[in-house]
Amino acid sequence: MNGDRYYHSLRRNILGIILAVSLLPLLMIAAIAGWQFHTAYRHKVVDHLSELVNNHARHIDTFLQEKLSDIQVLAAVHPVDRLKDEKFLGRLLILLQEKHGGVFVDLGLVDARGFQQAYAGPFQLTQARYTDAPWFQEALARPYTISDVFLGLRGLPHFIVAVRIGEGADAWVVRSTIDFVAFNRLVENLRIGRTGQAFIVNRQGEFQTRPNREPDLPPQELLAGLQPQKVSHDLPAVPAEGSVPGRVPGRAPSAPSDDVRPFWTERRVPETGRSLLVFSRPLKGGQWILFYLQDVQDAFSDLYRARRLSLGVLVLSALAVAGTAWTLSRRVVNRIIQVDREKEMMNEQVIEAGKLASIGELAAGIAHEINNPVAIMVEEAGWVEDLLGDLEKGEPLDVEEVRRSLSQIRTQGARCKEITHKLLSFARRTDPTVQQVQLNKLVQEVVGLVEQRAKYAGVRIRTHLTDGIPWVSMSPAEMQQVLLNLVNNALDAMEKTGGTLDITTRFEDGRVIVDVADTGEGIPPANLQRIFDPFFTTKPVGRGTGLGLSICYGIVKKMGGDITVNSAVGVGTAFHVYLPAGDGVERERAENPKEEEDGSNDGFAGG
């Protein structure tokens, strides 16, 4: 039986449907929402960081602009002669330091040759020579300069803000050193998360601020990743309070800094395999670049946490769904198996009941059939008793007559035995297992069972059994019942009138066919539709169960066959049973040749 496979596939289907119906939407929602959230959140984080970097850059620009403006004002309002006075310079320095919290370290006035003519500050740098210093070269060439960070004469990192007064050989340069620590703090403040770090480099990749730790990517590499930008020596115009850069002679108004948006990119660090978010924003007219680096994992940590959480929930719910589907499908299939089993048992019981009913119908005929030989035996015994009574009276015993009687008793006993065996062979055969069955043999058995009944009903039974039809895979008990029901029905139809019952077996189009045709009263067309319905009967209450044909139908369908009926009122009815041929064609001939010989006999009986 392929029942197990059927239940397995049933269970697989239920499982698959539940999983598909519940998991697909779940996964789709998770994927869509996750993607949307991911995109939105990334934008948000990047925008936020961009804004932050931008603000800082503007802040730094402003800082530089302010410091430069201060020196510019100083250079503009005070004549050079007064600035040569170191005491005056010192007072100016104190004033600046008071207002700016010690950002200005010192003040100095350098002549065109590069010698510092006046100096105010913590170091002894009067007459220091800056002729070859790069910042000085630049300061002479341009109206103002903010230098890169360098160690300079004093060996400490610092940078210089310088403003030129006059031109050519009479030019003077006012310079001031900016406290590196204070400047560095501007950038150090830009620290977000665990890994965020900000620093400034110049175009050569030299650090202008001290990074809190070695950045994951060297500045040169970071610079290489940037698009080449126009470098302006002008400071971007930042509307810082108190500074009006436009007033400074020789200085072109620069573009507003707002259109310089931070450029951001994602870079992989080859050594660690981690991804970095790199924000870059030019400063100081593009001479410097503010870099902000943050580990992607760190920057999007909230996003990743949310994603981990939702993935966890997704996996858990998927597991829950899968578990439920598994249990549910198992329970449903088990229930179906149980119901099927009950149904099968019920079917067997119905078939058994139908069989008992068929036997009941047979009983009348059989009882009479068995009663006749019994009566003969009783009478023969009585006859022998009579003869013995004569012997007692002194008459001679007719030994020949006694022997004849005994022989008759034996004959009738054998007849009884034959009848009971026929009945038992049917009643005892209850095994519904499928075997290879030769149909002709079954037909003959059934004909044997009903012969007596047919005789009293005046029905002539003719069998037309085709030799060598294939064997059929079926339960002999069930098939016998089908035949018996059909034959009993035919006899019922001809009980009053008598007639002919033709039973034919044939092999056509790969199917074994049994025709049971009677010349009875026929079935009205209105009833023809319903004859296979259970409990449909035209017999009086108490006579028919209405199960016979429905059982036949069930049995034949179960075997993979078909059953059809033709009927005409007053002419007769023919049932055709189509059965799928099994293997082993003509095997019967070799096994049981004797039965084959009388396969198409004329089972004439009575009439």
Binding site: A367, H368, N372, A375, E379, E380, G382, S405, Y456, G458
Partner: protein, 144 residues
């Protein structure tokens, strides 16, 4: 008393043969028939038959039909039905149609011969009454 003449009708030949011997031994004169039409033929040929022992279940013309026909042709002949277990109803039906009695097959031979004798007596009574009635009728007619 005359020998009672009995017609035995059954489709089982050995049964008829043995019963013929046994009933013959008990002083009855037995005629044999193996189906309904044959029985009617015998009755037509021989009007001395007193009692018919008739099997109910026979192929072709069954016992009830035969009984109906006998009652029609020879109303005075008494009929004893022989039935198997499954045909008691048929026997009762037969009683309604005017059979004298019925017996289950196989039956005791003494019961059967007693019944046959009763039937014979009944028939004799009937005949007597008919004779008397006839005589009375003749007397009455004379008296007219």
């Amino acid at each position: 008393m005359d020998r009672t003449m009995v017609l035995l009708v059954d489709d089982e030949v050995p049964f008829v043969e043995t019963m013929t011997k046994r009933l013959g031994k008990r002083g009855f004169h037995i005629l044999k028939a193996f189906n309904g039409p044959q029985a009617l033929e015998v009755l037509d040929d021989d009007d001395k038959v007193d009692v018919v022992i008739l099997d109910v279940k026979m192929p072709g013309m069954d016992g009830i039909e035969t009984l109906r026909e006998i009652r029609k042709r020879r109303p005075l002949v008494e009929v004893i039905m022989l039935t198997g277990h499954a045909t008691v109803e048929t026997a009762i039906e037969g009683m309604r149609l005017g059979a004298f009695d019925y017996l289950m097959k196989p039956c005791d031979i003494e019961d059967l011969s007693a019944k046959v004798q009763e039937a014979k007596k009944k028939k004799a009574r009937h005949e007597q009454k008919i004779l008397e009635a006839k005589a009375h009728a003749i007397a009455l007619r004379r008296g007219d």
